[in-house]
């Protein structure tokens, strides 16, 4: 009878040990999760930098577009002086078409500029905070898994002690 009890305690102990192997595996999985999150943070930071650069680039392209418009206006004013000469009227028409195309360029750039700016304030900061929160939550999961392993470890010690001292 005593042997049967001892055997069952040994079996129970092995089961708790196996349970802890599973918890150790789960604990290892959190390493992978935390690695992914660290990489995500780095990638999001890169996206934030690139997005900022695109915003600046588009703004400067738009400013260049405005300069183009000024050149066209200047050219038109020069042509205005020559308008009375024969043949120059068709040049005037072509100038209008060219300035319309330039207007298309600038309007599209303005739309891009507007869309890029249409983001909640501190958008990337909020993204980073979200990732930090998820990282912290994963670390808590990891601590809980560790705590479970430790408690199981204490149970194993208790069972072994009972088997050797009480039986």
């Amino acid at each position: 009878m005593m042997d049967h009890v001892r055997n069952m305690i040994t079996s129970a102990t092995s089961n708790v040990e196996l349970s802890n192997v599973e918890l150790a595996d789960a604990h290892d999985e959190t390493d992978g999760v935390l690695d992914c999150m660290a990489e995500m943070r780095a990638v999001v930071a890169e996206i934030a930098i690139l997005t900022g650069e695109v915003e600046v680039d588009v703004a400067s392209l738009y400013a260049r577009g405005e300069k183009v418009k000024e050149h066209i206006i200047r050219a038109t004013s020069f042509l205005g002086e020559a308008f009375r000469s024969p043949g120059v009227d068709s040049l005037g028409k072509q100038t209008v078409i060219a300035s319309l195309r330039v207007k298309d360029v600038n309007e599209t750039l303005a739309a891009v500029q507007g869309f890029m700016a249409d983001r909640p304030e501190d958008y990337f900061g909020a993204l980073e905070s979200g990732l930090n929160y998820l990282t912290d939550s994963t670390r808590i999961v990891r601590q809980d898994l560790q705590a479970a392993q430790e408690s199981n470890g204490h149970a194993i010690i208790g069972l072994k002690k009972y088997a050797t001292e009480e039986l």
Partner: protein
Amino acid sequence: MTPENIASIRAANEAFAEADSELGRIETGMDDVMDKVSRIEALTDKVKDLSLRAGSLIGGSLSENIEHSDRYIKEALEDLRVVGINPDNQATGSVFMHFREAQEAKRRASLGSQKVAKELNTAPGMSLIKAQGVFVSRQGHLVEGHLKAARSEIKHVIKAGNALCEEDSL
């Protein structure tokens, strides 16, 4: 045409040429923007992949490990139960207390991991960046088209202006 008019057309052509050079700089700058946008798009895909990978680790493999761990504890408790070892035994009471602590910690870990997995499976915040990338990319192609058209028109104007001046000087 008077020499003044010819001079005006030449001055206009110079201004057109400057406009064309500026448009050329915009074209180069736009290429750079498009390159950055495609890098942003690739990076948002990477965040999405990482998020899904992390989500599947914490919501899949890790949850399975916790479930298996529970199953082993259930078996351990059954082993103990069949030989009459239960929480009421004074000598083994602390063992059961440790089991309860472990189960409680696992329950917290399980709930926490589900919450994290849920957040990760939605690839946090990338949809707006993705949408911006798609928009800028589309509009960027439009800008490129408009630039080509504008430069071509300006070149026509310059050519026509030059022709007028030449005709007149002949």
